[in-house]
Structure formats: structure tokens, C-alpha cells
């Protein structure tokens, strides 16, 4: 298989795009070409009023491209940008009812993700209970992940060290921790390179397995049980419409060439 729509990058972009709803504001970090592709794809296919908040910009671009600070991007510098602002606009996530809100749906990952959907970017504990591995830090995830209406977990890597029973530290709280803190709701979905998970009763379960993987593999690579028992649907591969749309937002096939950590150790 080759051309627009083949490979892991295009599949993940399609899976994420299908979750973005018309009229919402989706936010993600700057170095996230795959997420930008997903958002542009949704905008093109079913969510023409999706607002895309890519770093400091509200974007409506014709295609993905290299990071905004590179020379290659330079020629498109001011194309498709609806709004620019200073970085403290992230605080505007705190009023989800304002037309100027920072976002409705937030795409977030972690060093660890646990069964109830909590994430951890802070670090890993050693046997003595102290921090043994210092993580990069919570970056923009904590407040946005707490206050945005919808959170979608995104982790290309799907491994037992990533998907743990309980995170060592909490950057963004999952279902039970949110309830304990008086916050409604919780993450809606978790997309990885091999599967899509959702939540029931505040716990993760398997929703679909990507065509190149199996349910057994997904469970082997996860440290906690993933219901339900029995057969699991296959993730819908890119449709003809999605492939055509990808062709136009990614004419040079950047998504297909994108290096994506697909697995990680299974133990």
C-alpha cells in the first residue's frame, strides 16, 4: 500500500480527526504535525467550523508543513492564521463557555498513562518511592487537561511501561481523581499506534484495534486489564474520502514518512 492514506501516520490522523466535532476548538502543542493533520482533516471532512489552536495561533491552513519556526514554513507564515496572541491566552481555558475560550478538546500524552486515564509527565519513582527518573515536566497539560471540556489521550507508543496500573505522579487527573477533586467528567478516548481505547465506569477499555495489530498484542502491551472480553472491532482504515482529503492537506506525503514510535517493549 502506498500513497496518501497508507501507513501509520495517516491512520492515526484519520482516527483522531473522526473524534473532532464541528464548532469545537481543538488545542495541541507546537511540535505536533500529526495532530495538525488530524485537525485539518476534520475541518475538511465534517467539521468546517472546527477552530484549530496550534500553539499561539488559531489556524485554518490548507496543508500541514514543517514546524512554524523553520525556513521551510516561512513562505506560509501568515497564511491561514485567524488569530495570534500572547502565550498567557492559555489561561482562557478556564471559561469554557466563552466564545474566546482556549479550547474545548485537548490532545495530550504522557510518560505514563493509567487505567483511569491519568497522565504523568513529571517523572518515575524508584523503589524507594522517590523520583528516580525526572520527566520533562507537565508543560501545558495540567490546567488545560483539567479544565477543557474534552480530553483525548494520544500516545503513539503503546507499551507496558507507558500504560501502567497507576501513574507515579499525576500531571492530568483521570476519572476517579477528577471525581475526588470535585471535577466532572474525564478523558473520553485514548489513541495509540495499535488501538483505540475509551472509558466505561471511569476505567479504560478497548474500543478497536488497528488493522496491523491484534487484541492480544494490545493487551500484552498494557499493564492493566482491558475489557471487554471477546472479539474487538478493527479500527476503520482511512476511507476513500479521508484519503482524498489527506492527499490535499499532505501533498508531499509527510505523514507517511513521519517516524512514529509504534511499540516499545512488551514486558
Amino acid at each position: 500500500m502506498s500513497g496518501a492514506g497508507s501507513g501509520l501516520g495517516p491512520l492515526l490522523a484519520c482516527v483522531l480527526a473522526r473524534e473532532l466535532k464541528d464548532g469545537e476548538v481543538v488545542a495541541f502543542g507546537l511540535h505536533a504535525e500529526l495532530l495538525l493533520a488530524a485537525a485539518l482533516l476534520a475541518q475538511k471532512l465534517h467539521a468546517p467550523n472546527l477552530a484549530i489552536r496550534h500553539g499561539l495561533r488559531v489556524e485554518r491552513g490548507p496543508e500541514i508543513g514543517p514546524a512554524a519556526w523553520t525556513d521551510a514554513r516561512r513562505s506560509h507564515a501568515h497564511e491561514g492564521i485567524e488569530y495570534l496572541e500572547s502565550h498567557d491566552a492559555i489561561l482562557d481555558v478556564a471559561n469554557p463557555a466563552s466564545p474566546m475560550r482556549f479550547c474545548d478538546v485537548f490532545l495530550v500524552g504522557g510518560l505514563q498513562i493509567d487505567r483511569e486515564g491519568s497522565t504523568n509527565l513529571i517523572g518515575l519513582k524508584g523503589r524507594d518511592g522517590r523520583m528516580a527518573l525526572r520527566g520533562p515536566g507537565s508543560i501545558g497539560t495540567t490546567s488545560i487537561g483539567t479544565l477543557a471540556r474534552h480530553v483525548i489521550l494520544f500516545s503513539p507508543e503503546h507499551s507496558r511501561r507507558r500504560f501502567v496500573e497507576t501513574v507515579d505522579y499525576v500531571s492530568v487527573p483521570g476519572w476517579r481523581r477528577r471525581a475526588a477533586a470535585g471535577l466532572e467528567g474525564g478523558p473520553a478516548l485514548c489513541v495509540t499506534s495499535i488501538a483505540v481505547m475509551d472509558f466505561a465506569g471511569g476505567l479504560m477499555r478497548l474500543r478497536s484495534v488497528h488493522p496491523h495489530a491484534t487484541a492480544d498484542e494490545v493487551r500484552r502491551r498494557t499493564s492493566f486489564p482491558l475489557p471487554p472480553e471477546g472479539p474487538v472491532p478493527v479500527t476503520l482504515p482511512p476511507t476513500a474520502a479521508e484519503r482524498a482529503a489527506l492527499e490535499s492537506i499532505d501533498p508531499s506525503g509527510r505523514l507517511e514518512r513521519m517516524p512514529i514510535p509504534a511499540g516499545g517493549e512488551a514486558s
Binding site: 485567524e82 466563552s98 482524498a244
Partner: protein
């Protein structure tokens, strides 16, 4: 495949119909600049009652007229300015002195802080400005507290139900922007109001512009996600930054009517309302009460 973006264009009466009695309504305008007058007149025509208006921080005729027409129960503003015309806004003064409206006594900083607390989901903010003044005495909900040996005002959050503002331009998708020539500063309160709002934001604008114009200079965008109403001369008798100057003669005429009413003669103010608000069916009708020649004379020199 869909590529139909939803346009966010309303007409003035659809926009005004979003207001319900008793709502907390944010209004743009700073002294003589950028009051959303076409929308305000339409709200008055609908005989809305009991509004709390959050205008300014220093407000002007949009506030005075809504009060004068009986739509307001409470005004949250640092002041209502008619500087260089009369010392005090006549309807605001009359209603406050007669106890017909409550005034949330504040200054421009407290006004901004109440909106910031709302925007950021904070129950209150602590602020040193205003300790030792009459402001905490006059506002039951604004107490003075001690913290770490210092005194602060505890400024409660003020969320808004709806916002009306006026600006130079917008695209049909709700990106509202200032004129390139808006040289008084790019933003007074437009963003502050929109961020504190938990409902719709409506902007009347001098003209709708194509999408690619707002995309071409995103730094001029004041507010995103607004409903937009095309209303040329929509701030009159106020000015629109970079487009036209306020009509100070009209202000003087309005102020004289308001002063007469304050002193006991309701006729001139009633005549003003009939002629400029209730009489005309819509904004075009209002503009005919002013006259194109007079309007054109207010236009700031072409760039």
C-alpha cells in the same frame, strides 16, 4: 465532504432578541469611543427590563441611554463620562440619585479585575488599590480583608451572560477587528468582556470584510467567535476608532434633554427617545434622523 463554514451574521433585531430581562450584559465603549449604539437602541425598542450592565470600564452614552430608557437595574462601571460636554451623565445621575438603579462602585482596575476573575474561573482576586476608600463600604459584596499583614479588597468575579460591542470590521465567521488606523490603542475592553462571558458575544461593525482580509493581518483581530451585525455608523453618536469622530453636538443635545428631565421636565428626553429610538424602525431609520451629510462630516480623513 463539507466545506460550508457557518456564517455568524445576524441582523440587529436577531441580536437584540438574545437579551432576556435581568441578564448581566457587557457593553463596549470607552468614553466617546466604540459604543454599540445600534444594538443598544434595538435592545431599548424591545423594552427589556432589569439588566445589570457592565460597561466601560469608563462608559458613556450606551450606559446612560439604557438607564434613561428604563432597561437597567444595576450598573457596573467606573464612571459614566460626558467630558467636555456636561460634567455628569444625566440619566445615570438622575437614576442613581432617585435610587432607581444600583451602582457597583468601582474604578477601572476593579472593573477589569472582576472580569478577569470571571474569565479565569477564580472566585475572587485580592487587590491593594482601593483600601482606605469608600468603595468597600458602598459595595456589600466587595469586602476588605487582611492577608499576610496587609489589607486588600476581595474583588468578586463578575461573569457576563451576553456581550455587545462595536468595532470597525469583522469577517462573516466572527473574527472582529480594529481599524488599522485605530490609534487610541488597540483594545479597550472588548477582549476583557468576551473572555468573561458565558454566553454569546455580538459585535456590530462598520463593515463586513472578506475572510482573507482578517487572515492577512491576524494581529488586528480583537475578538474571535462573535456573532456579527453589519451596522455602518453603528456607534453614532459615539465615534468608531479610526473611522469617525464622536458627534459632540448630538451629545450636547442628548445631555440637555437628560438634564431637563433630571430637573423635572420629562418632555425633551421623551422627545429624544421618540425621535431617535422608538420612532425609527431600525438602524437605517435612525441614521435618517441624523442625516447623511452630518454623518459624513464626522468621518476621519481618508488614509
Amino acid at each position: 465532504m463539507s466545506d460550508e463554514r457557518a456564517e455568524r451574521v445576524l441582523d440587529a433585531s436577531e441580536a437584540a432578541a438574545l437579551v432576556r430581562d435581568g441578564m448581566v450584559v457587557g457593553l463596549s465603549g470607552f468614553s466617546y469611543q466604540n459604543p454599540p449604539m445600534a444594538l443598544v437602541r434595538e435592545i431599548i425598542r424591545r423594552r427589556v427590563k432589569g439588566l445589570t450592565i457592565v460597561s466601560g470600564p469608563t462608559s458613556g452614552i450606551e450606559t446612560d441611554l439604557l438607564i434613561g430608557a428604563g432597561c437597567v437595574r444595576r450598573a457596573v462601571t467606573a464612571g459614566v463620562a460626558f467630558e467636555q460636554v456636561v460634567p455628569m451623565a444625566p440619566a445615570f445621575r438622575r437614576a442613581a440619585e432617585r435610587g432607581e438603579i444600583e451602582v457597583w462602585e468601582c474604578d477601572e482596575c476593579l472593573w477589569h479585575l472582576a472580569l478577569k476573575a470571571a474569565a479565569w474561573g477564580m472566585p475572587y482576586l485580592l487587590w491593594r488599590g482601593g483600601v482606605g476608600t469608600s468603595i468597600p463600604e458602598l459595595n456589600p459584596d466587595l469586602e476588605e480583608v487582611q492577608e499576610g499583614g496587609r489589607r486588600y479588597l476581595k474583588v468578586p468575579a463578575r461573569p457576563l451572560d451576553i456581550v455587545f460591542l462595536h468595532a470597525a470590521e469583522a469577517d462573516r465567521f466572527g473574527n472582529v477587528r480594529a481599524a488599522r488606523q485605530a490609534y487610541l490603542g488597540r483594545s479597550f475592553c472588548e477582549r476583557a468582556l468576551a473572555l468573561a462571558c458565558r454566553g454569546p458575544v455580538v459585535a456590530s461593525v462598520e463593515r463586513l470584510v472578506p475572510d482573507d482580509e482578517t487572515l492577512g493581518s491576524p494581529e488586528r483581530t480583537l475578538v474571535r467567535g462573535a456573532f456579527v451585525v453589519e451596522a455602518p455608523w453603528g456607534a453614532h453618536p459615539g465615534g468608531t476608532s479610526g473611522r469617525y469622530a464622536p458627534d459632540l453636538e448630538h451629545y450636547a443635545e442628548y445631555a440637555a434633554a437628560g438634564e431637563a428631565r433630571r430637573k423635572g421636565d420629562p418632555q425633551p428626553y421623551q422627545r429624544y427617545l421618540e425621535r431617535h429610538v422608538y420612532g425609527p424602525e431600525d438602524h437605517d431609520g435612525y441614521l435618517r434622523t441624523i442625516g447623511a451629510g452630518r454623518l459624513e462630516a464626522l468621518r476621519l480623513g481618508a488614509a
